[in-house]
Amino acid sequence: MTAAALVHVVMSGLATGSIYALMALALVIIYNATRTLNFAQGEMLMVSAFLAWTALRMGAPLWVAVVVAVAGSAALGFMIERLIIRRALAATHWDVLIITLGLSLVLRSLAGVIWSHDEFPFPSFFPSRPVALGPVRVVPISLGIIGASLTLMAVLYVVFTRTRMGRAMRAVAQNQRAARLVGISVERVSSMSWMLAAVVGAVAGVLIAPVIFLSTKMGLIVINGFTAAVLGGFGSMPGAVLGGMVLGVIENVAPLYLPSGIRHAVPFLLLIAILVLKPGGLLGRVQTRKV
């Protein structure tokens, strides 16, 4: 394998990796507010991509479709949090986990009823024909995905460090009770977190749909997102980005050196391995719970 070809593989690995990173970020944002894993995150991504597709079919240009997806997903995230999750916030974390599992079934099934379970091609802002950059061939769509994801991450960084709401979210993540004591509305933070995570997922959905096709199966990407988040250290946002990139590259490079049979199992084997060997992830720390 030549170096140029390896660059090509790593590049597409980084592209899928950025999507995993966005998924992981969405999961971490919700985890920090609700202390549970949002199993329905993948299905929320899928629904927003379908919303964009519906807008396209009605003749809207691509950027309008993206706006529709973002607005629709924010509304969906808001409703889920307000109508269902908030009622169960007092319950244990795995009650909420099971609720989100139920939601993922409901969303997937509803999407199947509305849009069918077929696969649809989805347009992209970026061309998918490779262009030669010296000896290296790169696909513009990979670069576009990486660029768009990095931009969104930068925006998130600013939101979490510079805005009042972002800092409130971080405070709630650290200690809910203390955050409440200094006057932060934990309910508002929870609501905003679900909307923000849904929006991040919507952007990821619109970016990845041209590559993997639009279908109700897209939701399974939540597992890769979780693997990425765990790889980086669950709960840590820089970790989520790093974990996503590493997972994307491993997933694309590993099949070159492994028998083709286990290629689909790579993310799952990686998840089990990281959970067993280093549950704290690359950047995280294992939390010891006080009695």
Partner: protein, 308 residues
Amino acid sequence: MRRLALGALAAILVGWPWAAPSYLVFLASLVLVNAIVAVGLNLLSGYTHQLSFGHAGFLAVGAYTAAVVTTHVPALPVPITLLVAGVFTGLVGVALGVPCLRLEGLYLTMATLAFGFVVIEAILNLDTLTRGADGFAVPLARLGPWRLETDRARYHLVLVVAAVLVWAALNLVHSRTGRAFLAIRESEIAAQASGVPVAAYKTIAFAVSAFYTGVAGGLFAFVVGQLSPDAFDVFLSVDFVVMIILGGLGSIPGAVLGAAVVTVLHDWLAAFQAYRPLIFGLILVACMLFMPGGIVSALDARGGRRAS
């Protein structure tokens, strides 16, 4: 009174194949197979609070073990085959459970979810043994001179095994082990502090749960007669979770009841495939919001009794 009710139930269950058409006998066998899985899953998730999203993987291991063993040793009596399937799956459970001991909560759940996917990939790749995606036609089960050719014969096999396993589970949860499970569920730290060896009991829970599911897998192989890896996907694991949530976590009768409701519902909704996950999803959400203890505790609250 209680004895009378139990006796009547036993009579109905034994006599069922003579009263019902063949398809309902087959369906009843499936209910019982799922009931065994639900009881096994409940011992792990309802009693020690280790939620598993990977029990379809254990079911597949059991089913394929039984199928492979019967193909290579056709004369082996069925109870031995089932025992082999159960023990082998139990060992797989220990192999997964021991490294997962340091995980808790959703980390463990995600590890079991990944396990389910890995099992499907393994079945697809070990195609010399499992025949991969082509599917595996399971030979008839044999018991000495008899071959279990009819749905009725297979139903009675499943019924006997299910009865033994449910009775064993009822005894287990009232034993020292069962109390240790409950102590772990309430608080791992408190259990450890009171001298309950948490790691050992969590491993036992994993082993027993996998054993149950493995035996159920063996029965599933004989009842259905045809195995293919896509029958054991993650949605089957979710169905098992729905069974114990709906029936009632931490209740053996609840697990059986949940398995019966979900299996029959699954069958009724066969014509409305697209809506099936919708309904099961709504069941999960509704149970968690309005009926956290499942059917059993809802019934008990009405009758003013405590769940056993």
